[in-house]
Amino acid sequence: MSLLQVKKMTHYFGGLRAVYNYNLDINPGEIHGLIGPNGAGKTTIFNLITGIYTPTEGDILLDGKSIKGMRPHLIAAAGLARTFQNLRLWRYMTVLEHVKLAHYSKITYGLSGAFFNTRKRSQEENKITQKSMELLKLAGISHLADTVVTNLPYGAQRRLELARALAIEPKILFLDEPTAGMNPEEMLQMMDIIRKVQRQFNLAIFLIEHRMRLVMELSDRVQTLVFGEVVAEGLPEEVRNNPVVIDAYLGKEVET
């Protein structure tokens, strides 16, 4: 059974059709790419699956259970993590606090712990701190743990987003243009990290990217989206050579 399954999802903004008849199947450990021109509705699909919008039609199943219409934090807690295209970090918080906060759904000390600093709370907080530090090490930014995020270099902010997303112990990770704004060297490092975490946690990854090279190298399967509809789907090679795709989207801009 597939891990994430989207069935015939359609969404309208007012009268405007944003996504039409979208289907998706992602198996555990699989990397799935989504490409398409600007405004094709890629991020909308992310937002629909992660619960920011509720789709007008269709169903979304995670582990066989419908998550359609659930509130975003519950979907996230069910094992679906994401990063954002334009970084969404919390500007006044430190790096470590970011990763710790992503453990929110696993906190059991409750309000009494929050108010009265119980023994249970300090134990739990210590445990979370330890786990978070490990993730920071993995992302290669443990030396910046106490820095407030606005002081971080851009690459480190991207890594932090990834580390934060991993902290919710996801089964599937949504990456929205994880290398946007990075130079080629940083991009290569990022690719390494993505591969590494994918292997280490046996994660499924759903990836939106503009850079063809990244998508083609990482993905097991690729979908192409144009005006909210999937026009081509298959192995990277197939998609790359599909004339419809080249016509509609890639054109001359194919970078290899």
Binding site: F84, N151, A165
Partner: protein, 446 residues
């Protein structure tokens, strides 16, 4: 990791800055305990020789608030008050810091071997002793201290919403009013009677019932906060600001209409239950609990909601619960503060809880500093002290205080001490001379 600091090789400083630097150097090694000893000595001294000394210096009585009010009224007495402050406060403090610091450091270190709460309790007890001795001179000081502590609770609780969660809530006077009235209804109804009369209980029960009355006031205020918390799920920022403003007006209007509580005439005769120790204990409790809350990962969720709600949601943070808890929690403490306030002044009327109060509480929060427990404490104390000390200036006072606040806002837009954690351990620990890392972790973008 700390940002790099050029502290290792002090660049040559000139004039006042050099003086200030050496001044800081001198006191950098004194732990809190040392300061408490100093103040304790000063208050004991004032109790012993304060009055005769004042007479000798030509002052009719001990200057209440460091003589600022006296000096403002009759500038001729300025040297005398300065001399008084020097002898009673500055010299003992200086002496203690000079000679007792090593001992205080050792004692602080020794205390920290036990669980931290032991050390914290001892510090608090010392603090109370200082406060008790200092206010023992004069009832006016008691009143100022009580009002100051109530302000601390109000400011802290508002900071939770406006600073930590970043909403611009204007409903605080409403919460304070709810707490004030509910607590007063209980204490007056059970122990005084008059217009409102339940059963008159024996007076010795009053100190036991009082905390319950305060808590009930807090709970009712928290229930009132539901009216603001629920809309906050859907709307943020400016719309929430006017919803909260509407709430404030509605509460005020409601109490003006409640004839049984005196309506516009107000409601008086509260028994004298908010004594100094009672207010002190509640204030400490409030600081402790609010500080616990904002430092926990659950409390950090407030910052996440403030800085990026979408990301908070995506990181499993239950934003609705967070908002709900925050509003209710803040309102609860505002209610407690209201109950205390009503019993300090021993009279409440709806007119107190209007736009003027709102401007005052907002000023205290933003003056002290957003997102900072210490900031709120400093803000509340600073505003209250300033307000009392400049009293003789009458109108001019209301030019000076706003000007000061504008300057603070221009030069430190988030307040005096913003975005700083109240780290109990760091405050209680001994200050070892070798360590010179006293630099704040203030985000540069603020």
């Amino acid at each position: 990791m700390k940002p790099p600091i050029d502290n290792s090789t002090p660049t040559p400083r000139k004039g006042i800055r050099r003086l200030w630097h050496s001044f800081r150097q001198l006191f950098a090694q004194t732990p809190l305990l040392g300061w408490l000893f100093g103040f304790l000595l000063a208050s004991i001294l004032e109790n012993l020789i304060g009055y005769p000394l004042a007479r000798v210096l030509g002052l009719s009585k001990i200057p209440v608030l460091f003589g600022v009010d006296i000096a403002l009224k009759t500038p001729l007495l300025l040297p005398a008050t300065l001399l008084y402050d020097l002898i009673i406060y500055i010299i003992p403090l200086f002496l203690t810091v000079r000679y007792l610091t090593p001992f205080a450091n050792r004692l602080a270190a020794w205390l920290l071997r036990a669980p931290m709460w032991v050390s914290a309790l001892i510090h608090m007890a010392l603090l109370f002793l200082v406060l008790y001795l200092w206010t023992g001179i004069n009832d006016y000081r008691v009143l100022v201290a009580k009002l100051m502590m109530v302000s601390i609770i109000i400011t802290l609780s508002l900071n939770v919403v406006n600073g930590y969660m970043g909403e611009f809530s204007c409903s605080h006077p409403g919460f304070i009013a709810l707490g004030a009235y509910i607590a007063s209804i209980i204490t007056v109804g059970f122990f005084v009677g008059g217009n409102l009369k339940f059963v008159i209980l024996p007076a010795y029960l009053a100190p036991l019932v009082f905390p319950l009355a305060l808590i009930l006031g807090g709970v009712v205020a928290a229930l009132g906060a539901l009216l603001v918390a629920i809309p906050s799920f859907r709307t943020r920022g400016d719309y929430l600001a006017i919803i909260s403003l509407a709430f404030m007006f509605i509460v005020k209007s409601m109490f003006e209409n409640l004839e049984i509580l005196g309506g516009a005439r107000g409601f008086g005769d509260q028994p004298n239950l908010a004594t100094l120790p009672v207010v002190f204990i509640w204030t400490m409790l409030c600081i402790w609990i609010i500080n616990n809350f904002v430092q926990s990962t659950m409390g950090k969720a407030l910052n996440a909601v403030r800085d990026n709600e979408l990301a908070a949601d995506a990181m499993t943070v239950d934003t609705r619960k967070t908002k709900m808890v925050t509003f209710l929690f803040a309102a609860f403490w505002a209610g407690i503060a209201g109950g205390l306030l009503a019993h300090v002044i021993r009279y409440v009327n709806p007119g107190t809880f209007g736009l003027q109060k709102l401007a005052e509480v907002l000023a205290m929060v933003y003056f002290g500093g957003l997102n900072s427990v210490i900031g709120s404490i400093v803000g509340a104390i600073g505003y209250n002290l300033l307000s009392e000390m400049l009293r003789p200036l009458e109108l001019i006072k209301w030019l000076i205080i706003p000007l000061l606040l504008i300057l603070v806002m221009i030069f430190r837009p988030t307040g005096l001490i913003a975005f700083r954690e109240f780290d109990l351990h760091k405050i209680l620990q001994p200050k070892i001379p070798a360590k010179m890392e006293e630099v704040e972790n203030v985000p540069p973008s603020s």
